[in-house]
């Protein structure tokens, strides 16, 4: 049962979401001072979890198999819990989750390059207005802010290095960037060194707060608020330090998600969502299968199948499906034509995206591709349509809400596109 009713959040009038909110004094103050709309969204309990398969997962080896066709490849398709709907045999577990999922098989986007395609998709490829749009995580961080938990609103779990990735924020400004947890490890300096006891830390923090109160008296408060805020967030993060201790996880969970990177990171993502992070992105790299596409997918897809299924099961078991939107996608799909290296190349012309949870109509398959998979047969959807749909799913009216870039109002999703009603409840 899903209670997330996006239309209840419809707004009656156009309201501005200021990138530079509340006049000059507020500029640069960590997005704390936001106008009414942002305050409204800040009270929302909706969250988003994005699983990003970087390099481009093959739609033919996942959501849109074409067995026994010239481009179909060696894998069979299997039935799912949705009558008449088949997926690749590489997803036996997800095939049993189909009643909870919504899949769009008619994605048609423009850019076939990774370096430009990744940002374009993650920015929702809005109309070019000469500004750099934020990635989805930064957009949500700006539009909805942190949840009541006070945890940073945009956390990115990825292999490799972590840090604070400001460039995702585009024109919104560095502070809406991603807190990246490299290999799921905590941010630098999160753990209090042994030389400071918890009592000693509390004593010095209390002194700091006292000095700050004294300083702020009869002075403009914005600087002190911003400076105090980052310490509050730091302390909130510290309280969740157990999130980063994998040894405390039940063995059963680790087995269900898998001990590979994607499994560990998806499990961390679930825990970050439970702790109250507004937007979590999990990235899996290495999907650019120009060579040996089928063996690659044969080894990669079971990891997706395992960890995403565990995630969906957990969200439903815990009732989180009512407030957490899950999206799984890449920057494009892969060519139906199989190249000389038994690989598939980049294919933005016809590919698939999957989603579940908050606001999404479960058990939905939208669109169809040609029998050989080379193009979209039904109404094509661009990433802009998906942004409208996802914003709507979490209660943001993307046809009305706008960013302000200085004096320039900017739509939060492509203004020629719209939400896809079939996907929404």
């Amino acid at each position: 049962m899903n209670h997330c009713r996006s239309w209840e959040h419809d707004w009656s009038r156009r309201r501005l979401l200021g990138a530079v909110a509340g006049g000059v004094g507020a500029a640069g103050l960590g997005g704390m001072l936001q106008p009414a709309v942002a305050e409204e969204m800040a009270r929302s309990d909706k969250q988003i979890l994005l699983i990003w398969l970087d390099g481009g997962m093959s739609q033919l080896e996942s959501w849109d198999p074409k067995p026994n066709t010239p481009f179909g490849g060696p894998f069979r398709s299997i039935p799912t819990t949705l009558p008449g709907i088949h997926v690749s045999e590489l997803m036996p577990k997800l095939s049993q989750q189909m009643k909870r999922l919504a899949v769009v098989r008619s994605m048609k986007t423009e850019d076939a390059n990774h370096s430009s395609g990744v940002p374009k998709i993650l920015r929702g490829q809005p109309r070019n207005r000469g500004v750099t749009y934020p990635y989805l995580g930064s957009a949500v961080a700006k539009l909805m802010g942190p949840t009541e938990s006070g945890l940073p609103p945009y956390v990115w779990v990825k292999p490799g290095n972590g840090g604070f990735i400001s460039k995702h924020a585009g024109f919104l400004g560095a502070r809406y960037g991603a807190l990246a947890l490299g290999d799921g490890k905590p941010p630098a300096n999160l753990v209090r060194p042994d030389s400071i006891s918890s009592a000693a830390d509390e004593a010095r923090q209390e002194l700091r707060r006292r000095f700050n109160r004294q300083f702020a008296d009869r002075r403009r408060g914005d600087f002190n608020e911003a400076n105090s805020h980052v310490y509050d967030v730091a302390e909130t993060l510290m309280k969740h330090v157990e999130l980063f201790d994998e040894t405390k996880l039940p063995e059963k969970d680790r087995r269900r998600y898998g001990t590979h990177d994607l499994g560990r990171h998806a499990l961390l993502a679930r825990r970050l969502i439970e702790a109250g992070v507004r937007f979590v992105q999990v990235t899996s790299y290495g999907w650019d299968t120009h060579g040996d596409n089928f063996n690659s997918h044969a080894s990669r897809m079971p990891k997706v199948d395992q960890s995403v299924t565990a995630l969906i099961e957990d969200l439903y078991d815990r009732g989180l499906d009512e407030r957490v939107l899950v999206v799984m996608m890449a920057e494009f799909g892969r060519t139906p034509r199989i190249n000389g290296s038994v690989g598939r190349d980049h294919w933005p012309n016809a590919w698939s995206v999957a989603m579940a949870g908050c606001g999404i109509r479960p058990g939905t398959v939208v669109g169809e591709t040609l029998p050989d998979g080379t193009d979209v047969k039904t109404t094509p959807y661009d990433i802009g349509h998906m942004f409208h749909t996802w914003f709507s799913a979490v209660g943001l009216d993307s046809a009305e809400a706008q960013y302000m870039n200085g004096t320039q109002p900017l739509p939060i999703a492509h203004d020629d596109m719209h939400k896809v009603d079939e996907l929404l409840i």
């Binding site: 640069g28 941010p187 700091r208 004294q214 911003a226 993060l237």
Partner: protein, 547 residues
């Protein structure tokens, strides 16, 4: 007729506001500033003048890039001479810290944390140590002279923006065009690259393209120092608006100076000094677009040039630009104080863009010297009124030097009494590393202008938990905490602590807090508690901003 005369006299009297008005030129700029700011603020309640402690900290952070040492602060507070503020301003402008501070300030402003280059640093240091006029400095950046050893590093302004960032990212020449407009003329027409600006009528695609062609005609030349070469320019630039598709053409266009026709010469006669590969001579073009740009943009007659730098230096001192955003000058975004900006720009140009002079004038104003605190209980006036001093962000450099001074780390490691801050750090490895960490932690990411106060969680965690920071607050012979630990009287201890870290004397409430905290503590626990006090002051907003 008589009426008109009376009116005229009345106008003069009103406008004067100062008995010296008879000789217009003798009215100092700082008086004009105060007259204009205060008349616009009207009957608003004004903050009283900053007290000596507020002032000495503020002006040293602005002109020396660091807080005062305990000795400097005490000397100033105890000085009873009436002219001590002006004397301090003069001595800071003439002092050793000035060139370092300006180098750090302009490096962050102009390079926006793109990186460092020894030749660039040398150029900036030279420019401010010699107090070169701003137009001269700007020309060195826009049309670099590889033959001038002191100034050639200025080319880094251009070359640092012409580097490839990753295999798939092309060199961002449009980004350079945009930055020249933003940083030298206060106009950000990056949005006018492909069409006229949508929301700002003054920003035309032709302006962008006419400037952009100069940088497309230029290349970064590899080598031990940054340098650029130009090709012979032969024809105007063709471009199209992505909206209308109409083909158009423009000659060179210089922000604030209009069009410049391209001069062409017969083949083989384009150079006054021919380039020579063998001797690695660059050659001198008879028509150099970069030279045209430098001479016409960085020019006292160019209104955008003078207004941009006047507005930026005002921002540095007053915490708010008369035009904001700093790089969005256009007719629909007027200055908050139009006449004031006119006067700042024109007087700065008349004074041959003497930066020291302008900073000195700004520092002398009542506007600069007001308190950031407003007594009473009414609402605080807006930042644009300057009725209360605006708080300002401290750069990573200001924070680093000030932290070393506040914690007494400099005193602890200093071997020669006359060594400068930079020498001490250069001679002490762990401090060099600490400096790197401070810059990394407290600077904005590359290409993000450091305009707004933008504290980060990363910064808070660093200050809370980094061992090198915590070590500064452990009692080690010679440092602040060690000195304080030997002081039995909590009142005296408070005095020394607050003066060292926040450059003021403690309030009775402060003394009470300290006294209570240190009561009945063992010697070890007492030293630790003093460390906590020092940490809390160091992490406080009072230390972290210039107020």
């Amino acid at each position: 007729m008589r009426q008109l005369l009376v009116l005229l006299v009345a106008c003069l009297v009103v406008a004067a506001g100062s008995p010296n008005r008879a000789h217009t030129a003798e009215v100092s700029l700082h008086e004009v500033i105060d007259r204009l700011v205060e008349s616009q603020a009207g009957k608003r309640s004004m903050a009283p003048p900053a007290d000596d402690a507020e002032f000495v900290r503020r002006v040293m952070l602005d002109l020396a890039g660091r807080i005062p040492t305990v000795d400097e602060a005490r000397r100033f507070l105890d000085d009873t001479s009436a002219n001590k503020r002006n004397a301090l301003i003069e001595s800071l402008l003439a002092g050793d810290d000035y060139a370092r501070r300006m180098q750090e300030l302009f490096n962050a402003m102009l390079m926006e944390r793109r990186g460092e280059h020894a030749e660039w640093t040398k150029f900036l240091r030279h420019a401010f140590a010699e107090n070169l006029p701003w137009d001269r400095v700007a020309r060195a950046m826009l049309s670099p002279d590889a033959a001038d050893e002191n100034l050639r590093g200025a080319a880094y302004f251009l070359t640092a923006r012409l580097t490839k960032e990753g295999a798939m990212a092309p060199v961002d020449v449009p980004g350079l065009t945009r930055d020249v407009g933003r940083l030298m003329a206060g106009v950000d027409f990056g949005c006018a690259q492909c069409h006229d600006h949508i929301s700002i009528e003054d920003y035309r695609q032709a302006d962008f393209q006419g400037l952009h062609m100069i940088f497309e005609n230029m290349q970064s030349r590899g080598g031990e120092f940054p340098a650029v070469t130009e090709k012979v320019m032969t024809k105007p630039r063709d471009f199209k608006s992505v909206f209308t598709g109409d083909p158009r053409t423009t000659p060179l266009r210089i922000p604030g100076a209009g069009e410049v026709a391209i001069q062409t010469f017969p083949k083989g006669e384009e150079y006054s000094v021919a380039p020579d590969r063998k001797t690695k001579t660059l050659g001198v073009l008879k028509f150099s677009p970069l030279r045209e740009l430098a001479n016409r943009l960085a020019n006292a007659k160019n209104p955008l040039f003078a207004r941009n730098i006047a507005n930026r230096l005002w921002f540095v001192m007053m915490g708010r630009g008369l035009v904001e955003p700093l790089d969005l000058f256009h007719s629909a975004n007027p200055p908050t104080h139009p006449e004031l900006l006119d006067r700042l720009a024109s007087e700065f140009a008349i004074h041959k863009f003497d930066i020291k002079w302008l900073l000195g004038q700004l520092a002398r104003t009542r506007c600069y010297q007001r308190s950031s605190r407003l007594p009473g209980d009414g609402p605080l006036p807006p930042a644009t009124s300057y009725a209360v001093a605006n708080q300002k962000r401290l750069s990573a450099e200001q924070l680093f030097w000030s932290t070393l001074i506040a914690t007494g780390e400099i005193d602890r490691v200093k071997k020669q009494t006359d060594a400068t801050l930079e020498q001490v750090v250069a001679d002490t490895d762990p401090l060099g590393e600490l400096q790197k960490q401070f810059l990394k932690t407290f600077s904005n990411p590359p290409k993000e202008p450091e305009v707004d106060f933008a504290p980060t969680v990363k910064g808070a965690l660093y200050l809370m938990h980094d061992q090198a920071v915590l070590d500064l607050l452990k009692a080690r012979p010679g440092n602040l905490v060690a000195r304080l630990a030997t002081e039995p009287d909590p009142r005296k201890l408070s005095g020394a602590l607050f003066l060292a870290v926040v450059s003021r004397r403690p309030t009775p409430e402060d003394v009470e807090v300290v006294t209570k905290l240190l009561e009945n503590k063992t010697r070890t626990a007492r030293a630790e508690a003093i460390g906590h006090l020092a940490w809390a002051l160091l992490a406080s907003t009072e230390f972290w901003v210039n107020h």
